[in-house]
Amino acid sequence: MSGQSAELDDLREQLREARASEAKYRSIVENATEGIFQTNPQGSVLVSNPALARMLGFTSVEELLASELNLGALYTDVEQRLELQRRLAESGTISNLELQARGADGRHLWISLNCHAVMDESGGLYGIEGTAVDMTARKQAQDALAALNAELEQRIRDRTAELERRNADLKAFTYSVSHDLRAPLRAMAGFSEILLDEYNVQLDEKGRRYVERVKAASVRMGQLIDDVLQLSRVSGVEMRTQTVDLSGIARGVAAELTALDPARRVDFEIQDGIVAQADRQLIATVLENLLGNAWKFTAPHKHGRIDFVSKPSGPGVLECYVRDDGVGFDPTYKDTLFQPFRRLHSSEFAGTGVGLASVRRIVERHGGRTWAEGEVGKGATFHFTLALR
Protein backbone atom coordinates (compact mmCIF):
# COMPACT_ATOMS: atom_id res chain seq x y z
CA MET A 1 0.00 0.00 0.00
CA SER A 2 2.66 2.34 1.03
CA GLY A 3 4.33 1.78 -2.42
CA GLN A 4 1.13 2.74 -4.20
CA SER A 5 0.66 5.73 -1.98
CA ALA A 6 4.21 6.87 -2.66
CA GLU A 7 3.59 6.49 -6.41
CA LEU A 8 0.44 8.54 -6.07
CA ASP A 9 2.31 11.22 -4.14
CA ASP A 10 4.88 11.29 -6.94
CA LEU A 11 2.19 11.72 -9.57
CA ARG A 12 0.57 14.45 -7.55
CA GLU A 13 3.91 16.18 -7.20
CA GLN A 14 4.53 15.92 -10.97
CA LEU A 15 1.08 17.24 -11.72
CA ARG A 16 1.64 20.15 -9.37
CA GLU A 17 4.97 20.93 -10.99
CA ALA A 18 3.39 20.64 -14.42
CA ARG A 19 0.65 23.06 -13.41
CA ALA A 20 3.14 25.43 -11.92
CA SER A 21 5.20 25.23 -15.08
CA GLU A 22 2.14 25.73 -17.29
CA ALA A 23 1.08 28.69 -15.19
CA LYS A 24 4.55 30.15 -15.59
CA TYR A 25 4.55 29.81 -19.38
CA ARG A 26 0.94 30.90 -19.61
CA SER A 27 1.87 34.04 -17.72
CA ILE A 28 4.69 34.73 -20.12
CA VAL A 29 2.42 34.18 -23.11
CA GLU A 30 -0.45 36.19 -21.63
CA ASN A 31 1.75 39.15 -20.74
CA ALA A 32 4.02 39.16 -23.79
CA THR A 33 3.91 42.32 -25.88
CA GLU A 34 4.47 40.24 -29.05
CA GLY A 35 1.50 38.44 -30.52
CA ILE A 36 1.82 34.67 -30.04
CA PHE A 37 -0.29 32.16 -31.95
CA GLN A 38 -0.85 28.61 -33.08
CA THR A 39 -2.88 27.57 -36.11
CA ASN A 40 -4.19 24.32 -37.56
CA PRO A 41 -2.67 23.06 -40.86
CA GLN A 42 -5.12 25.23 -42.79
CA GLY A 43 -3.96 28.36 -40.98
CA SER A 44 -6.99 28.92 -38.76
CA VAL A 45 -5.90 30.42 -35.46
CA LEU A 46 -6.44 27.99 -32.56
CA VAL A 47 -4.38 29.71 -29.87
CA SER A 48 -3.76 33.44 -29.40
CA ASN A 49 -2.46 35.62 -26.62
CA PRO A 50 -4.10 38.95 -25.70
CA ALA A 51 -1.36 40.92 -27.44
CA LEU A 52 -2.19 39.32 -30.81
CA ALA A 53 -5.92 39.89 -30.31
CA ARG A 54 -5.29 43.58 -29.53
CA MET A 55 -2.90 43.93 -32.44
CA LEU A 56 -5.44 42.52 -34.87
CA GLY A 57 -8.26 44.71 -33.63
CA PHE A 58 -10.23 42.21 -31.52
CA THR A 59 -11.54 43.14 -28.10
CA SER A 60 -10.51 39.78 -26.63
CA VAL A 61 -8.81 36.49 -27.35
CA GLU A 62 -12.23 34.81 -27.25
CA GLU A 63 -13.55 37.12 -29.96
CA LEU A 64 -10.51 36.37 -32.11
CA LEU A 65 -10.92 32.59 -31.73
CA ALA A 66 -14.68 32.79 -32.31
CA SER A 67 -14.08 34.58 -35.62
CA GLU A 68 -12.15 31.51 -36.85
CA LEU A 69 -9.54 33.91 -38.16
CA ASN A 70 -7.30 32.42 -40.80
CA LEU A 71 -3.70 33.61 -40.76
CA GLY A 72 -3.78 33.81 -44.54
CA ALA A 73 -6.79 36.11 -44.51
CA LEU A 74 -4.86 38.81 -42.67
CA TYR A 75 -2.82 39.80 -45.65
CA THR A 76 -4.18 42.46 -47.88
CA ASP A 77 -1.80 41.40 -50.64
CA VAL A 78 -2.27 38.02 -52.34
CA GLU A 79 1.39 38.04 -53.35
CA GLN A 80 2.41 38.27 -49.71
CA ARG A 81 0.17 35.36 -48.80
CA LEU A 82 1.69 33.21 -51.53
CA GLU A 83 5.16 34.24 -50.40
CA LEU A 84 4.29 33.14 -46.85
CA GLN A 85 3.06 29.74 -48.04
CA ARG A 86 6.05 29.26 -50.34
CA ARG A 87 8.59 30.01 -47.65
CA LEU A 88 6.83 27.81 -45.09
CA ALA A 89 6.74 24.89 -47.54
CA GLU A 90 10.38 25.38 -48.49
CA SER A 91 12.14 25.72 -45.16
CA GLY A 92 9.42 25.26 -42.59
CA THR A 93 10.32 28.62 -40.97
CA ILE A 94 9.75 32.27 -41.64
CA SER A 95 11.71 35.00 -39.96
CA ASN A 96 11.06 38.72 -39.93
CA LEU A 97 8.68 38.67 -42.87
CA GLU A 98 7.06 42.08 -43.07
CA LEU A 99 3.46 41.96 -44.15
CA GLN A 100 0.75 44.47 -44.56
CA ALA A 101 -2.44 43.37 -42.82
CA ARG A 102 -5.93 44.61 -42.14
CA GLY A 103 -7.22 44.23 -38.59
CA ALA A 104 -10.76 43.22 -37.60
CA ASP A 105 -11.45 46.90 -36.91
CA GLY A 106 -10.45 47.75 -40.50
CA ARG A 107 -7.19 49.36 -39.43
CA HIS A 108 -4.21 48.83 -41.75
CA LEU A 109 -1.12 47.65 -40.01
CA TRP A 110 2.34 46.34 -40.67
CA ILE A 111 3.35 43.07 -39.00
CA SER A 112 6.71 41.43 -38.73
CA LEU A 113 6.13 37.67 -38.63
CA ASN A 114 8.28 34.88 -37.21
CA CYS A 115 6.78 31.39 -37.38
CA HIS A 116 7.51 27.79 -38.14
CA ALA A 117 5.58 24.70 -39.27
CA VAL A 118 4.90 22.11 -36.56
CA MET A 119 4.90 18.47 -37.74
CA ASP A 120 3.07 15.48 -36.25
CA GLU A 121 4.72 12.05 -35.58
CA SER A 122 4.05 10.87 -39.14
CA GLY A 123 5.69 13.96 -40.65
CA GLY A 124 2.46 15.64 -41.75
CA LEU A 125 1.74 19.33 -41.09
CA TYR A 126 0.19 19.68 -37.66
CA GLY A 127 0.01 23.45 -37.53
CA ILE A 128 1.92 26.73 -37.54
CA GLU A 129 3.11 28.60 -34.48
CA GLY A 130 4.93 31.82 -34.10
CA THR A 131 4.99 35.45 -33.06
CA ALA A 132 3.91 38.70 -34.64
CA VAL A 133 5.21 42.21 -33.89
CA ASP A 134 3.26 45.35 -34.78
CA MET A 135 5.54 47.45 -36.97
CA THR A 136 2.95 50.07 -37.87
CA ALA A 137 4.33 52.85 -35.69
CA ARG A 138 7.86 52.23 -36.91
CA LYS A 139 6.67 52.11 -40.52
CA GLN A 140 4.76 55.34 -40.07
CA ALA A 141 7.83 56.97 -38.55
CA GLN A 142 9.91 55.72 -41.48
CA ASP A 143 7.34 57.05 -43.95
CA ALA A 144 7.22 60.38 -42.15
CA LEU A 145 11.01 60.54 -42.25
CA ALA A 146 11.05 59.70 -45.95
CA ALA A 147 8.41 62.36 -46.61
CA LEU A 148 10.40 64.87 -44.58
CA ASN A 149 13.55 64.01 -46.51
CA ALA A 150 11.76 64.36 -49.81
CA GLU A 151 10.41 67.73 -48.71
CA LEU A 152 13.86 68.86 -47.60
CA GLU A 153 15.36 67.79 -50.90
CA GLN A 154 12.66 69.67 -52.75
CA ARG A 155 13.39 72.75 -50.66
CA ILE A 156 17.09 72.45 -51.41
CA ARG A 157 16.29 72.16 -55.12
CA ASP A 158 14.06 75.25 -54.90
CA ARG A 159 16.68 77.24 -53.03
CA THR A 160 19.41 76.17 -55.43
CA ALA A 161 17.29 77.24 -58.38
CA GLU A 162 16.60 80.56 -56.66
CA LEU A 163 20.30 81.06 -55.92
CA GLU A 164 21.24 80.19 -59.47
CA ARG A 165 18.71 82.70 -60.76
CA ARG A 166 20.07 85.41 -58.46
CA ASN A 167 23.59 84.54 -59.45
CA ALA A 168 22.68 84.91 -63.11
CA ASP A 169 21.07 88.29 -62.34
CA LEU A 170 24.18 89.36 -60.51
CA LYS A 171 26.39 88.27 -63.36
CA ALA A 172 24.28 90.23 -65.84
CA PHE A 173 24.50 93.19 -63.50
CA THR A 174 28.27 93.08 -63.09
CA TYR A 175 28.63 92.60 -66.83
CA SER A 176 26.61 95.73 -67.37
CA VAL A 177 28.64 97.59 -64.73
CA SER A 178 31.85 96.41 -66.31
CA HIS A 179 30.86 97.60 -69.75
CA ASP A 180 28.43 100.48 -69.40
CA LEU A 181 29.74 102.37 -66.38
CA ARG A 182 33.25 102.51 -67.69
CA ALA A 183 32.32 104.03 -71.07
CA PRO A 184 31.23 107.49 -69.80
CA LEU A 185 34.28 107.58 -67.53
CA ARG A 186 36.49 107.00 -70.50
CA ALA A 187 34.86 109.99 -72.21
CA MET A 188 35.42 112.17 -69.13
CA ALA A 189 39.03 111.11 -68.70
CA GLY A 190 39.75 111.19 -72.43
CA PHE A 191 38.31 114.59 -73.19
CA SER A 192 39.91 116.08 -70.06
CA GLU A 193 43.22 114.79 -71.30
CA ILE A 194 42.63 116.31 -74.74
CA LEU A 195 41.66 119.63 -73.11
CA LEU A 196 44.91 119.67 -71.15
CA ASP A 197 46.95 118.69 -74.17
CA GLU A 198 45.49 120.80 -76.91
CA TYR A 199 43.69 123.63 -75.18
CA ASN A 200 46.34 124.20 -72.57
CA VAL A 201 46.96 127.80 -73.62
CA GLN A 202 43.28 128.72 -73.61
CA LEU A 203 42.92 127.52 -70.00
CA ASP A 204 44.22 129.53 -67.07
CA GLU A 205 45.92 127.95 -64.07
CA LYS A 206 42.65 127.41 -62.19
CA GLY A 207 40.94 126.00 -65.28
CA ARG A 208 43.73 123.52 -65.79
CA ARG A 209 43.54 122.46 -62.15
CA TYR A 210 39.81 121.81 -62.45
CA VAL A 211 40.25 119.72 -65.56
CA GLU A 212 43.00 117.80 -63.79
CA ARG A 213 40.55 117.05 -61.02
CA VAL A 214 37.87 115.83 -63.42
CA LYS A 215 40.43 113.56 -64.98
CA ALA A 216 41.72 112.24 -61.66
CA ALA A 217 38.19 111.66 -60.39
CA SER A 218 37.18 109.68 -63.45
CA VAL A 219 40.31 107.53 -63.27
CA ARG A 220 39.63 106.93 -59.60
CA MET A 221 36.06 105.95 -60.31
CA GLY A 222 37.34 103.54 -62.92
CA GLN A 223 39.51 102.01 -60.19
CA LEU A 224 36.48 101.76 -57.91
CA ILE A 225 34.48 99.97 -60.59
CA ASP A 226 37.34 97.54 -61.14
CA ASP A 227 37.51 96.87 -57.42
CA VAL A 228 33.77 96.28 -57.10
CA LEU A 229 34.06 93.83 -59.94
CA GLN A 230 37.03 92.15 -58.30
CA LEU A 231 35.02 91.69 -55.13
CA SER A 232 32.13 90.13 -57.02
CA ARG A 233 34.53 87.98 -59.01
CA VAL A 234 36.25 86.51 -55.95
CA SER A 235 32.83 85.63 -54.55
CA GLY A 236 31.42 84.18 -57.72
CA VAL A 237 34.24 82.52 -59.60
CA GLU A 238 34.33 78.73 -59.58
CA MET A 239 37.11 77.32 -57.39
CA ARG A 240 39.65 74.78 -58.63
CA THR A 241 41.49 73.45 -55.62
CA GLN A 242 45.00 72.08 -56.06
CA THR A 243 48.32 71.99 -54.26
CA VAL A 244 49.64 75.54 -54.38
CA ASP A 245 53.13 76.83 -53.59
CA LEU A 246 52.38 79.99 -51.65
CA SER A 247 56.07 80.81 -51.16
CA GLY A 248 56.60 80.87 -54.93
CA ILE A 249 53.62 83.15 -55.50
CA ALA A 250 54.75 85.47 -52.68
CA ARG A 251 58.23 85.72 -54.19
CA GLY A 252 56.71 86.61 -57.57
CA VAL A 253 54.55 89.34 -56.01
CA ALA A 254 57.54 90.70 -54.08
CA ALA A 255 59.61 90.82 -57.28
CA GLU A 256 56.83 92.70 -59.10
CA LEU A 257 56.44 95.25 -56.31
CA THR A 258 60.18 95.83 -56.21
CA ALA A 259 60.37 96.19 -60.00
CA LEU A 260 57.59 98.79 -60.01
CA ASP A 261 59.36 100.96 -57.45
CA PRO A 262 63.06 100.07 -57.46
CA ALA A 263 64.01 103.10 -55.38
CA ARG A 264 62.32 101.66 -52.26
CA ARG A 265 64.39 99.67 -49.81
CA VAL A 266 62.33 96.80 -48.46
CA ASP A 267 63.60 93.44 -47.21
CA PHE A 268 61.25 90.57 -47.97
CA GLU A 269 61.65 87.51 -45.75
CA ILE A 270 59.63 84.76 -47.40
CA GLN A 271 59.62 81.33 -45.78
CA ASP A 272 60.34 78.42 -48.13
CA GLY A 273 57.94 75.62 -48.92
CA ILE A 274 54.63 77.05 -47.75
CA VAL A 275 52.18 74.73 -49.49
CA ALA A 276 48.40 74.44 -49.12
CA GLN A 277 45.30 73.19 -50.91
CA ALA A 278 43.75 76.20 -52.60
CA ASP A 279 42.59 77.82 -55.82
CA ARG A 280 45.79 79.14 -57.32
CA GLN A 281 44.39 82.32 -58.83
CA LEU A 282 42.32 83.29 -55.81
CA ILE A 283 45.15 82.68 -53.37
CA ALA A 284 47.43 84.75 -55.60
CA THR A 285 44.90 87.58 -55.19
CA VAL A 286 45.16 87.16 -51.39
CA LEU A 287 48.94 87.43 -51.47
CA GLU A 288 48.92 90.33 -53.95
CA ASN A 289 46.59 92.24 -51.64
CA LEU A 290 48.38 91.46 -48.37
CA LEU A 291 51.91 91.99 -49.70
CA GLY A 292 50.73 95.01 -51.70
CA ASN A 293 49.27 96.53 -48.54
CA ALA A 294 52.44 95.79 -46.59
CA TRP A 295 54.46 97.44 -49.37
CA LYS A 296 52.18 100.47 -49.39
CA PHE A 297 52.14 100.98 -45.64
CA THR A 298 55.89 100.62 -45.19
CA ALA A 299 56.49 103.40 -47.75
CA PRO A 300 57.02 106.19 -45.19
CA HIS A 301 59.89 104.19 -43.66
CA LYS A 302 63.33 104.51 -45.11
CA HIS A 303 63.97 100.81 -44.82
CA GLY A 304 61.02 98.46 -44.62
CA ARG A 305 60.69 94.81 -43.76
CA ILE A 306 57.96 92.41 -44.84
CA ASP A 307 57.70 88.76 -43.73
CA PHE A 308 55.59 85.96 -45.11
CA VAL A 309 55.62 83.06 -42.65
CA SER A 310 53.56 79.97 -41.87
CA LYS A 311 53.07 77.86 -38.77
CA PRO A 312 51.05 74.72 -38.05
CA SER A 313 47.73 75.47 -36.40
CA GLY A 314 45.69 72.45 -35.39
CA PRO A 315 45.28 69.24 -37.37
CA GLY A 316 45.22 69.76 -41.13
CA VAL A 317 45.24 73.54 -40.81
CA LEU A 318 47.96 75.90 -41.97
CA GLU A 319 48.23 79.40 -40.57
CA CYS A 320 50.08 82.02 -42.59
CA TYR A 321 50.73 85.63 -41.93
CA VAL A 322 52.13 88.69 -43.62
CA ARG A 323 53.87 91.02 -41.18
CA ASP A 324 55.25 94.46 -41.89
CA ASP A 325 56.94 97.16 -39.84
CA GLY A 326 54.98 99.96 -41.51
CA VAL A 327 52.62 102.61 -40.14
CA GLY A 328 50.31 100.02 -38.52
CA PHE A 329 46.75 100.79 -37.47
CA ASP A 330 44.60 101.49 -34.45
CA PRO A 331 43.62 98.03 -33.13
CA THR A 332 40.12 99.35 -32.34
CA TYR A 333 39.44 98.94 -36.04
CA LYS A 334 40.94 95.49 -36.55
CA ASP A 335 37.57 94.04 -37.59
CA THR A 336 36.24 96.90 -39.72
CA LEU A 337 39.43 96.62 -41.79
CA PHE A 338 37.96 93.63 -43.60
CA GLN A 339 34.68 95.30 -44.53
CA PRO A 340 34.37 96.40 -48.14
CA PHE A 341 35.00 100.10 -48.86
CA ARG A 342 36.07 100.85 -45.30
CA ARG A 343 39.36 102.63 -45.20
CA LEU A 344 41.38 103.57 -42.17
CA HIS A 345 43.90 105.70 -43.97
CA SER A 346 43.17 108.89 -45.82
CA SER A 347 44.14 109.63 -49.39
CA GLU A 348 47.76 109.69 -48.28
CA PHE A 349 47.68 105.99 -49.23
CA ALA A 350 46.02 104.99 -52.48
CA GLY A 351 43.25 102.42 -52.40
CA THR A 352 39.52 101.91 -52.43
CA GLY A 353 39.08 99.61 -49.44
CA VAL A 354 38.31 96.44 -51.32
CA GLY A 355 41.59 94.53 -50.99
CA LEU A 356 41.11 93.15 -47.49
CA ALA A 357 37.42 92.44 -48.12
CA SER A 358 38.50 90.34 -51.11
CA VAL A 359 41.11 88.59 -48.95
CA ARG A 360 38.51 87.69 -46.35
CA ARG A 361 36.00 86.41 -48.91
CA ILE A 362 38.60 84.28 -50.63
CA VAL A 363 39.89 82.78 -47.39
CA GLU A 364 36.33 82.12 -46.18
CA ARG A 365 35.52 80.39 -49.46
CA HIS A 366 38.49 78.13 -48.68
CA GLY A 367 37.03 77.41 -45.23
CA GLY A 368 39.69 79.50 -43.47
CA ARG A 369 39.76 82.52 -41.16
CA THR A 370 41.34 85.97 -41.36
CA TRP A 371 42.37 88.34 -38.62
CA ALA A 372 44.65 91.29 -38.11
CA GLU A 373 46.95 92.62 -35.40
CA GLY A 374 48.58 95.97 -35.29
CA GLU A 375 49.34 99.18 -33.49
CA VAL A 376 49.79 102.68 -34.77
CA GLY A 377 53.44 103.11 -35.76
CA LYS A 378 54.31 99.53 -34.94
CA GLY A 379 53.44 97.65 -38.08
CA ALA A 380 50.64 95.25 -38.92
CA THR A 381 50.23 91.48 -39.17
CA PHE A 382 47.54 89.83 -41.27
CA HIS A 383 46.79 86.17 -40.57
CA PHE A 384 44.86 83.64 -42.60
CA THR A 385 44.32 79.90 -42.37
CA LEU A 386 44.02 77.29 -45.12
CA ALA A 387 43.54 73.54 -45.28
CA LEU A 388 46.82 71.62 -45.54
CA ARG A 389 45.20 68.88 -47.66
Binding site: S178, L185, G222
Partner: protein, 151 residues
Amino acid sequence: MDSADGVEILLVEDSPDDVELTLHAFKDAKITNRVHIVRDGAEALDFLFARGPYANRDTTDWPKVILLDLKLPRVDGLEVLRQIRADHRTKLLPVVILTSSREERDIVEGYRLGVNSFIQKPVDFEQFAAAIRTLGLYWLVLNRPPQRAAA
Protein backbone atom coordinates in the same frame (compact mmCIF):
# COMPACT_ATOMS: atom_id res chain seq x y z
CA MET B 1 30.51 109.52 -94.34
CA ASP B 2 33.69 108.39 -96.01
CA SER B 3 33.58 106.54 -99.27
CA ALA B 4 33.42 102.79 -98.77
CA ASP B 5 36.45 102.21 -100.98
CA GLY B 6 40.09 102.21 -99.99
CA VAL B 7 39.24 101.61 -96.33
CA GLU B 8 42.20 100.43 -94.26
CA ILE B 9 40.69 100.45 -90.78
CA LEU B 10 37.09 99.45 -90.16
CA LEU B 11 36.01 100.81 -86.77
CA VAL B 12 32.86 99.14 -85.44
CA GLU B 13 31.78 101.35 -82.54
CA ASP B 14 28.40 102.70 -81.45
CA SER B 15 29.52 105.25 -78.86
CA PRO B 16 30.23 108.68 -80.44
CA ASP B 17 32.55 109.46 -77.51
CA ASP B 18 34.60 106.37 -78.12
CA VAL B 19 34.68 107.05 -81.87
CA GLU B 20 36.02 110.51 -81.26
CA LEU B 21 38.57 109.35 -78.69
CA THR B 22 39.73 106.53 -80.94
CA LEU B 23 40.16 108.89 -83.91
CA HIS B 24 42.01 111.27 -81.64
CA ALA B 25 44.28 108.48 -80.48
CA PHE B 26 44.94 107.57 -84.14
CA LYS B 27 45.90 111.18 -84.81
CA ASP B 28 48.18 111.28 -81.75
CA ALA B 29 49.79 108.07 -82.91
CA LYS B 30 50.24 109.54 -86.42
CA ILE B 31 48.06 106.83 -87.92
CA THR B 32 46.73 108.41 -91.10
CA ASN B 33 45.22 105.30 -92.68
CA ARG B 34 41.69 105.63 -93.97
CA VAL B 35 39.16 104.84 -91.29
CA HIS B 36 35.58 103.90 -91.95
CA ILE B 37 33.13 103.93 -89.06
CA VAL B 38 30.09 101.70 -88.76
CA ARG B 39 27.73 102.10 -85.80
CA ASP B 40 26.52 98.58 -85.18
CA GLY B 41 27.14 94.94 -85.98
CA ALA B 42 24.60 94.69 -88.78
CA GLU B 43 26.15 97.63 -90.60
CA ALA B 44 29.60 96.07 -90.14
CA LEU B 45 28.40 92.89 -91.84
CA ASP B 46 26.68 94.91 -94.63
CA PHE B 47 29.95 96.73 -95.21
CA LEU B 48 32.10 93.62 -95.26
CA PHE B 49 29.82 91.52 -97.44
CA ALA B 50 28.79 94.43 -99.71
CA ARG B 51 25.12 94.28 -98.87
CA GLY B 52 22.38 96.90 -98.46
CA PRO B 53 23.79 100.42 -98.51
CA TYR B 54 27.24 98.96 -99.31
CA ALA B 55 26.04 96.84 -102.27
CA ASN B 56 28.39 98.72 -104.61
CA ARG B 57 31.50 98.34 -102.47
CA ASP B 58 34.56 96.95 -104.24
CA THR B 59 34.92 93.51 -102.64
CA THR B 60 38.44 92.96 -103.90
CA ASP B 61 39.43 95.66 -101.45
CA TRP B 62 39.52 94.65 -97.77
CA PRO B 63 40.43 96.62 -94.67
CA LYS B 64 43.83 95.88 -93.13
CA VAL B 65 42.31 95.59 -89.68
CA ILE B 66 38.86 95.59 -88.12
CA LEU B 67 38.47 97.18 -84.69
CA LEU B 68 35.41 95.65 -83.13
CA ASP B 69 33.51 96.71 -80.02
CA LEU B 70 31.62 93.87 -78.33
CA LYS B 71 28.46 95.47 -77.06
CA LEU B 72 26.79 96.75 -80.20
CA PRO B 73 23.20 97.46 -81.23
CA ARG B 74 21.42 94.92 -83.44
CA VAL B 75 24.16 92.32 -84.04
CA ASP B 76 26.71 92.07 -81.20
CA GLY B 77 30.46 91.99 -81.69
CA LEU B 78 31.01 88.29 -81.08
CA GLU B 79 28.36 87.44 -83.69
CA VAL B 80 30.06 89.77 -86.17
CA LEU B 81 33.34 87.99 -85.46
CA ARG B 82 31.67 84.59 -85.90
CA GLN B 83 30.34 85.58 -89.32
CA ILE B 84 33.67 87.07 -90.39
CA ARG B 85 35.44 83.83 -89.51
CA ALA B 86 32.75 81.71 -91.19
CA ASP B 87 33.13 83.33 -94.63
CA HIS B 88 36.09 82.29 -96.80
CA ARG B 89 36.50 85.84 -98.09
CA THR B 90 36.93 87.39 -94.64
CA LYS B 91 38.14 84.58 -92.43
CA LEU B 92 41.78 85.75 -92.55
CA LEU B 93 41.07 89.44 -91.89
CA PRO B 94 42.80 90.69 -88.74
CA VAL B 95 40.15 91.48 -86.13
CA VAL B 96 40.99 93.30 -82.90
CA ILE B 97 38.35 93.42 -80.20
CA LEU B 98 38.44 96.83 -78.58
CA THR B 99 36.03 96.92 -75.68
CA SER B 100 35.25 98.10 -72.18
CA SER B 101 34.48 94.57 -71.14
CA ARG B 102 36.80 92.86 -68.74
CA GLU B 103 34.63 89.80 -68.63
CA GLU B 104 36.70 86.66 -68.75
CA ARG B 105 34.00 84.86 -70.75
CA ASP B 106 34.10 87.57 -73.46
CA ILE B 107 37.85 87.22 -73.74
CA VAL B 108 37.70 83.43 -73.86
CA GLU B 109 34.86 83.45 -76.38
CA GLY B 110 36.65 86.07 -78.49
CA TYR B 111 39.79 83.96 -78.72
CA ARG B 112 37.75 80.82 -79.31
CA LEU B 113 36.19 82.51 -82.31
CA GLY B 114 39.60 83.43 -83.65
CA VAL B 115 40.13 87.08 -82.73
CA ASN B 116 43.67 88.31 -83.41
CA SER B 117 43.92 90.38 -80.28
CA PHE B 118 41.84 91.67 -77.46
CA ILE B 119 42.29 95.17 -76.08
CA GLN B 120 40.44 96.45 -73.04
CA LYS B 121 39.78 100.14 -73.40
CA PRO B 122 41.25 101.68 -70.24
CA VAL B 123 39.60 104.68 -68.56
CA ASP B 124 42.89 106.54 -68.66
CA PHE B 125 43.28 108.15 -72.09
CA GLU B 126 47.07 107.99 -72.09
CA GLN B 127 46.93 104.22 -71.68
CA PHE B 128 44.27 104.05 -74.37
CA ALA B 129 46.39 106.10 -76.76
CA ALA B 130 49.37 103.87 -76.03
CA ALA B 131 47.30 100.77 -76.81
CA ILE B 132 46.12 102.31 -80.10
CA ARG B 133 49.69 103.26 -81.01
CA THR B 134 50.94 99.71 -80.47
CA LEU B 135 47.97 98.27 -82.30
CA GLY B 136 48.45 100.57 -85.29
CA LEU B 137 52.14 99.85 -85.45
CA TYR B 138 51.55 96.13 -85.44
CA TRP B 139 48.54 95.67 -87.70
CA LEU B 140 49.14 98.48 -90.14
CA VAL B 141 52.92 98.53 -90.38
CA LEU B 142 54.53 95.28 -89.24
CA ASN B 143 51.91 92.69 -90.06
CA ARG B 144 52.16 91.16 -93.55
CA PRO B 145 48.79 89.82 -94.63
CA PRO B 146 48.68 86.65 -96.75
CA GLN B 147 48.43 87.25 -100.52
CA ARG B 148 44.79 86.84 -101.24
CA ALA B 149 43.30 85.77 -104.55
CA ALA B 150 40.59 88.17 -105.68
CA ALA B 151 37.25 86.48 -105.37
